[in-house]
């Protein structure tokens, strides 16, 4: 037994289960846990297994182009990297953006936030709770009654509708290409829903597929295209013209009204389908409150969605900023990402080395120099690791810390910070949800809490979208059609050397880009992404990271079918893809599943 400074009792003596990657786009992840003879996780080790060099490939490039590169880091949160990048460059060069650009960026970022949450819940995470194969056994009439009970305002609720979906599903399953539903452990007792709830949720899976493609049209309208919408240092690249004459291709009232109808349609779905589904599913998993990890003791958010252009002070941000440590919700600390003492990255357990060992480095002074070595107790070879030695270096992810603390970031972190600050919307939503489920406040510190925070945040973001669309239209009606400030577009207007930082709240948490510009070119670029915070390895003091902490003490129904590990890792919406290999004690691979 070994107690970490952040309060987790580690015991690595039990059977080891290994989680290992196959994909490589957004960062790989490997996870190893030890379970005791009751199947309870007593030690957890999270490893980022990919050397990612985005920072270095940007060296020497034009800072005005950095967004286009960072947009390609990730297959999911493209826009949020682009926004973070243009903010970093604007901060470095002292460029301010017009009000309309702020409203439009917020509308795009909020659309991305909601899109990501809806897709995450229905298309990536729901299958950790919902069993679509079981849905084939449902009675469509009883499903219709369930729908009318939990989401009475949703029009699609007739028995015939559910029967229809069930038939389509049956045809799909019978065709043998289970595709999206492959790799499930559909007979595992960890699945608790009755067939009717499974059918209802699977039906909404299909409805969400239709909805998500509407949500992203907001990106097409303001960003010119989708995927990969355009961004611009100094504002947004779309001109506005609400008069009958003038620029072709500019944003006009028809398009703004289209944006409004997408926002309304999305908001209805979130209110009448998404949140009721989370409550309905949650009601069957009320006793499965594992996965809290660091969420009740150390959370952080940078904040986002500024009310006014160029004002990132905490009181002006609609998504809250702050840090909570030591489980003290009575004190929310402000976060200053420029302060060299606050955000620091450590590499004691990461496959890097610093010129000076044992130190943490602020991202502006970040060093990325690889040092790959396995600890003496690792099993396997350098090119095929069977078991990690977590006492040594064991991850390609650095360990970012806030004033030395391992932090959880993401929707739940934002909601815990907002709740602790007494944020009215957030507090009202959280209290309402807990009342509906008849659960105490502490229940939000869980895997389910993370999943629910995403649903609540989607509703709140929908309200913010309505606000910013009105604000944009009002400002245009007042005669302001400006969307970009190009006064400092030309590099000859820039200082010889400059540094800046851009922050956003990506769907999966606090995201920061730190940039140094010299002679008109990028000299250094460092991204600290949300999954770096959540997936970080141990630090020199032995504090475990958020993924590791969240798996601790979880009871697994069948350790060879790690539904519970998937459920909890998925609840972070990790920006990486990996696969789980469960090893038998003899070392043969029993099964492989994907974790995304």
């Amino acid at each position: 037994m070994n107690m970490t400074p952040n309060g987790f009792d580690l015991d690595a003596s039990g059977r080891r289960i290994v989680v290992d990657p196959v994909t490589r786009i957004e960062g790989h992840m490997r996870c190893e846990v030890n379970v005791d003879d009751q199947g309870v996780i007593r030690n957890a080790v999270s490893t980022g297994t990919m050397w990612r060099g985005l920072e270095v490939i940007l060296k020497g490039r034009d800072p005005r182009d950095a967004w286009a590169f960072t947009e390609r880091i990730c297959g999911v949160c493209t826009g949020t990297h682009a926004l973070t990048s243009v903010r970093a460059v604007e901060d470095a060069l002292g460029i301010t953006i017009p009000d309309n650009a702020n409203s439009i960026r917020n509308l795009m970022q909020l659309a991305l936030e909601i899109h990501d949450h809806v897709v995450h819940f229905y298309h990536l995470h729901a299958l950790d709770w919902v069993n679509p194969v079981n849905a084939l056994k449902a009675d469509p009439k009883a499903t219709s009654e369930l729908q009318q009970r939990v989401g009475p305002n949703h029009p699609m609720s007739s028995p015939g509708y559910f029967r229809d979906v069930q038939n389509r599903l049956k045809k799909f399953v019978d065709s043998g290409q289970l595709g999206i539903f492959a790799n499930g452990y559909w007979s595992n007792p960890a699945y608790r829903l009755p067939p009717e709830a499974d059918l209802m949720a699977t039906t909404h899976y299909l409805e969400a597929l239709d909805l998500q493609k509407e949500i992203v049209k907001i990106h097409t309208i303001f960003g010119g295209k989708n995927p990969h919408p355009n961004w611009l240092v100094g504002g947004v690249p779309c001109p506005i013209n609400v008069h009958s004459t003038g620029a072709v291709g500019a944003i006009n009232m028809t398009q703004l009204n289209h944006v409004g109808s997408i926002i309304d349609q999305t908001y209805d779905f979130v209110q009448n389908v998404y949140i009721p589904d989370v409550i309905a599913i949650g009601s069957f998993y009320k006793t499965w409150l594992y996965g809290g990890g660091l969420s009740g003791q150390a959370v952080m958010a940078y904040g986002d969605i500024p009310e006014h252009a160029n004002d990132f002070s905490p009181g002006q941000l609609h998504l809250p900023r702050g840090a909570i440590i030591n489980g003290n919700l009575n004190e929310v600390h402000d976060v200053d990402v420029r302060d060299p003492e606050q955000v620091q990255e450590f590499v004691d357990h990461s496959w890097y080395e610093y010129a000076e060992t044992g130190r943490g480095l602020h991202p502006w002074d970040g060093e990325t120099s690889p040092k790959y070595e396995l600890g003496p107790n690792a099993k396997g070879t350098r090119t095929s690791i069977e078991e990690i030695d977590e006492a040594a270096k064991y991850s390609w992810i650095k360990a970012p810390r806030w004033r030395g603390h391992a932090m959880e970031v993401g929707p739940l972190a934002r909601y815990v910070v907002g709740y602790a600050q007494g944020h009215e919307d957030i507090k009202g939503q959280v209290d309402g949800l807990l009342r509906a489920l008849d659960l105490p406040f502490e229940a939000i510190f869980s895997t389910l809490g993370r999943t629910a925070a995403r649903a609540l945040e989607s509703e709140y973001c929908g309200r913010l979208q309505k606000h910013f669309l009105q604000k944009l239209i009002a400002n245009i009606r007042n005669g302001d059609e400006s969307t970009a400030n190009i006064a400092k577009w030309d590099p000859s207007t820039w200082p010889k050397e400059a540094r800046g930082v851009g922050m956003t709240e990506a769907p999966r948490g606090a995201l920061g880009h730190w940039i140094k510009v010299k002679d008109g070119r990028i000299e250094n670029y460092q991204c600290v992404v949300p999954t770096t915070w959540n997936g970080s390895p141990r630090d020199a003091q032995g504090n475990i990271g958020a993924f590791e902490a969240s798996l601790m003490n979880t009871k697994m129904e069948r350790p060879e079918e790690p539904v519970e590990i998937l459920r909890t890792l998925h609840s972070f919406d990790p920006c990486l893809a990996c696969s789980t290999h469960v090893m038998s004690p003899e070392g043969q691979e029993l099964t492989t599943v994907k974790v995304r």
């Binding site: 994909t23 490589r24 786009i25 957004e26 790989h28 297994t49 990919m50 050397w51 990612r52 060099g53 985005l54 270095v56 490939i57 060296k59 020497g60 490039r61 034009d62 182009d65 286009a68 590169f69 947009e71 390609r72 880091i73 990730c74 297959g75 999911v76 493209t78 897709v119 298309h123 389509r168 599903l169 799909f172 290409q177 595709g179 999206i180 299909l206 597929l209 239709d210 998500q212 493609k213 992203v216 010119g224 295209k225 989708n226 995927p227 990969h228 355009n230 990325t368 690889p370 040092k371 790959y372 070595e373 070879t381 350098r382 090119t383 095929s384 390609w396 893809a577 994907k594 995304r596």
Partner: protein, 215 residues
Amino acid sequence: MAPRTLVLGIGNVLWADEGFGVRCVERLAGLWSFGPEVQLLDGGTQGLYLLHHVQDAQALIVFDAVDYGLAPGTLKVVEGDEVPAFMGAKKMSLHQTGFQEVLAAAQLTGRHPETVVLIGCQPEELEDYGGGLRAPVAAQIPAALDVALAWLRQLGHDPRAEAMPEKARADALAAPALRMDAYEGGRPSAEAACRIGDERFLPSQAPHPALKATA
């Protein structure tokens, strides 16, 4: 009338030969123009973001780097029901998982292209972050385009040998800074930017000198 056809390039341009599909679409747009029923698209690694484009298409032609287990630079064309299996057989990257799911999701919604063609090229190198296409893979772009053009003609389209107008290219392709010449030409030197991947994915090679061997 010729079917609405989506010509899609997928992959991550930041991962060397992973960019094959995207570069094919870029080259196609630089040499050929089409009627309004043909849409070209750089799909990147976008997964579900591509669903509505796929649902709206009656025919789908996909360029991609695919690990067929063949010699680097080998071009292989797969059609119809075989496509998802090939895209998932040896997953090289998230976009393949993602795109398999896009095809499955389109099936499940009952709106999917009748014709699906995958024009895949066996990559030589993926672990060169920030790098461009390797010679044997880049050399296959013209042949891959020929396959696509033959399919387009067979579907009843009439490709014209002239570059698409810049506005149409801007809608279909990556931002100018990411297009092949700018991207590869602007690359920092190997000294300034480490070019290797995780050693475990390069089992056939000796440890790179930049990785300080200790084990």
